[in-house]
Amino acid sequence: MTKDHKSDEKHSNEEVTKEPMVKVDQVSKKFENGTVALVDITFEIPTEGFAFIVGPSGAGKTTLLRMLIRDVVPTEGNVYVNGFHVSHMHPQSVPELRRKVGMVFQDLKLLSDRTVFENVSLPLEIVGRKDSYVEETVDKMLQLVGLFERKNVFPAQLSGGEMQRTAIARAMVVEPDLLLADEPTGNLDPATSWEIVKLMETINKLGTTVIMATHNVDIVNSLPHRVIFLEEGRIVKDQKGARYGTV
């Protein structure tokens, strides 16, 4: 990346830091195969906020979250995350953005040939932290998610909830400013789902902005957080403490 690019992005950082953690402005996405995933989406999430994105399958929840880490580029509109002008950033700056945004993927994306400890330590290795720091931080994170005793086992030996918690620990280990969670309670029993949500709330209380995509009605309805309803790629409702069933 050239110096000019860096200074442009830094400049835009300064402009946006006073603004919300996430700002999505009139964003649309049409894939090459013609599928329209998002249409004219606009919303903001304040720093240290907690928001649910809900909607039926195919509503565009995953596309929207992937857009926030520039895994998907919008066809139209602007996306700002933590000071980065994500929709127009230089490809070489993408790693810098992704290091500041933790993401729990719908399919978890754990490395099957690495232990829980190795999976969770991966983001720290990527940013080049020293071994002693990695060990201390990962152990602390595994204690937070209740997996310290299981740190030397492989993902295949974990239960669904443990795998989710491993993915959350990996997303959180670099102390990101923003945590994105794509269906983190999918395929989990209610008790485990609640454990995961409580963990998300704890993380939010520690100062991290959390955006969680889900279609778990019970969770959304029982928490007083903001809910953005998506349907066929459009926001059909955006309100605090909304009841999913009322859409």
Partner: protein
């Protein structure tokens, strides 16, 4: 260190391909080391023969020393001669006595007067020998020109063949090594596609992902060339007595161990560079942004 552990993890995952890459690198470095050592040795042998008198000219009886020395001067003026030695009849007799000291009967029958005087000529370059021979044969006082043409020609042609065949073999092995490393690295990249994708999503830079693959190529080159030079060292230890006796009297043959070590060092660096180049091509081909 973390990068190196990634390299070893890659290698453990598909060990047979890694082994194939190491073996082909070892073969290439082995061939290249043998060719270099053979070329250096043949150059020493050739240069030794070039410094020996290659043409001996015997003069007819009655040719005076002044005539011979005049001819010597003419030869020196051609600029093609590096050394000329005049051997008088008396000196020839001394040489004859030395060569036949164990044969008293032969010594009794010979006196200096029946041995011809001669000039022993060394050319600056072996390619001048033909013209020097023609020059001498045109002189009436010259009785015979003894010219070690066959030995010199054969040495020249062997040296040329060795260099050309070695070069062709090396180019072939080099291309093969690079292709094998591209194939192995490409295969590893394909196998790790999802892991690479995850690393990118977690914020890994392109170079963070590329580096272990590049190091892997360097590692194949290092291990392969280390095995090759180790094998060559053992061969040299075993064969050196034979080489010494075969080339008795030729200075600098066999080569010194200092020179061997220098060749080994250069070969290992070369092996690592070939490995790095192969994996760099693979990374460039299969791991672009």
């Amino acid at each position: 260190m973390e990068r190196f552990s990634t390299v070893f993890r890659h290698m453990r995952r598909i060990p047979y391909q890694a082994l194939a890459a190491i073996i082909i690198m070892a073969l290439t470095t082995f061939a290249s080391t043998v060719v270099v050592i053979a070329a250096l040795t043949s150059a020493r042998v050739l240069s030794y023969f070039e410094t020996r008198p290659q043409i001996t000219t015997f003069f007819t009886y009655g040719t005076s020393q002044d005539e011979i020395l005049t001819l010597k001067q003419e030869l020196e003026n051609t600029g093609k001669v590096s050394e000329i030695r005049y051997v008088s009849q008396e000196e020839a007799f001394e040489i004859y006595k030395e060569q036949n000291k164990d044969e008293p009967l032969l010594l009794e029958q010979v006196s200096p007067s029946i041995l011809p005087a001669s000039l022993e000529i060394s050319a600056k370059d072996a390619t001048y020998l033909d013209s020097l021979q023609q020059f001498l044969e045109g002189k009436e006082q010259v009785e015979e020109v003894v010219y070690q043409k066959d030995v010199v020609d054969s040495l020249l042609s062997w040296g040329r063949f060795l260099r050309q065949a070695g070069l062709i073999l090396l180019v072939f092995l080099l291309i093969e090594s690079i292709l094998i490393i591209i194939m192995v690295t490409g295969m590893k990249i394909a196998l790790k596609r999802s892991e690479i994708e995850i690393m990118k999503l977690l914020g890994a830079t392109t170079w963070y992902i590329r580096t272990p693959f590049l190091l892997e190529g360097v590692f194949y080159g290092f291990i392969g060339s280390f095995l090759a030079v180790s094998f060559v060292s053992i061969l040299l230890l075993l064969l050196n007595p034979n080489i010494t006796s075969f080339f008795t009297g030729i200075p600098g043959v066999p080569l010194s161990w200092y020179l061997y070590l220098l060749v080994f060092f250069v070969q290992m660096i070369g092996g690592m560079l070939v490995g790095a180049f192969g994996s760099m091509l693979a990374v460039w081909r299969y791991l672009h942004d």
